[in-house]
């Protein structure tokens, strides 16, 4: 599928914006690579889904931490799902915190789980902020070149 010049440029741009800081890894580039004329808003759609998914999963975990004390198997199972979503978009810092959480589950370490979960929440919030800024910038740049984008 053909890719507009704009899409190609934004892939380069996200490299600078994200990859160098480690918030997102190469997998995010793979997702961007899927954006094409058939799916012109693919990246933003995926990111939107991710935040919906992860928000839900995180509130499940939050509830489970309270409602099912020391139920490490349950906590781990939920966190595994969250980790899976993180890796699908390349959210590497958030994914690493998910992995610490799972390590703590494996060790039966409640304190460790609680601490890791706070970190997961923090990374989630930071990532959301960064991606929102990123899309805003793309939109501004895009409206400048809107006239030249291929019409669907």
């Amino acid at each position: 599928m053909k890719k507009s010049l704009f899409d190609q440029a934004s892939i380069l741009f996200s490299g600078l914006f994200f990859l160098s800081t480690g918030y997102l890894d190469e997998q995010f580039c793979q997702v961007e690579d899927l954006q094409d004329e058939a799916s012109p808003n693919f990246v933003e759609e995926v990111v939107t889904l991710f935040f919906k998914d992860s928000g839900r999963l995180m509130s499940n975990i939050e509830q489970a931490l309270e409602k099912y004390p020391r139920d490490f198997n349950r906590w781990d199972a939920y966190m595994q799902q969250l980790k899976g979503s993180c890796s699908s978009i390349g959210a590497s810092r958030m994914k690493n915190e998910c992995m610490s959480f799972r390590d703590s589950c494996g060790q039966g370490n409640v304190e460790g789980c609680m601490r890791s979960f706070q970190k997961v929440k923090r990374e989630h919030a930071v990532l959301r902020q960064k991606l929102e800024s990123y899309f805003q910038l793309l939109r501004q740049a895009g409206s400048a070149g809107a006239a030249t984008r291929p019409v669907m």
């Binding site: 759609e45 995926v46 919906k52 349950r74 890796s87 978009i89």
Partner: protein, 192 residues
């Protein structure tokens, strides 16, 4: 298109080569994460496959039950804390229905891989999935067709590509058998 050079099998496999194409292969895809589902669906579409995405293995089992001849393969995430997970789906689709099932997961533990292969998975892929891996999964469908073609030839049956059960049971009887097995297997009070 494949140019195989099988020695035994001769004419039968040459015929299969010419008729078989991965384009339009019908994949039933299961992943609880809507994020992953969207990404993998796009990857599969880019390979030229037809995709039916499902978020729950339970829905996939129903889908297979209602449309047993509509899919060429099943591609499923292994873990699903709620409801039926990949192992149960493997049993139903892989064993009972003889559909090729490819399993994927973020888990790359050797024991998990072994368990999957022992439970009948054709292949095990580690997430995140890549175009390079998915573009070759049609080989499992092709292999299955080849094997069934050879079996049918050996049994003196002229129809190709039918699963072994079908060559001895009429379709209706097979479907009834399958739904009984499902009944026994699925109705075990699994929480959804």
């Amino acid at each position: 298109m494949v140019g195989s050079s099988s020695a035994a099998g001769g004419n039968k496999s040459k015929l299969a080569d010419e008729e078989f194409t991965p384009v339009g292969m019908r994949v039933l895809l299961i992943d609880e994460s809507t994020t992953c589902l969207k990404i993998i669906t796009k990857l599969l579409l880019n390979c030229g496959y037809k995709v039916t995405p499902k978020t729950a293995a339970q829905n996939a089992v129903e889908e297979l039950r209602n449309n047993p001849w509509s899919y060429d393969m099943v591609l499923t995430e292994l873990h699903a804390p709620a409801g039926i997970d990949g192992f149960n789906l493997l049993q139903y689709a892989g064993t009972d229905m003889d559909l090729p099932v490819v399993v994927f997961s973020a888990d790359d533990d050797k024991r998990t891989v072994l368990k999957c292969v022992n439970s009948g998975a054709c292949d095990y892929l580690v997430k995140p999935l890549r175009h390079e891996e998915l573009k070759n999964i049609w080989q499992h469908v092709y292999r299955r067709k080849l094997r069934n073609g050879r079996r049918a030839a050996a049994a003196g049956n002229s129809s190709k590509g039918e699963i072994k059960k079908r060559s001895t049971w009429p379709k209706e009887l097979h479907e009834r058998f399958v739904s009984v097995v499902l009944q026994l297997g699925v109705d075990t009070g699994l929480a959804n």
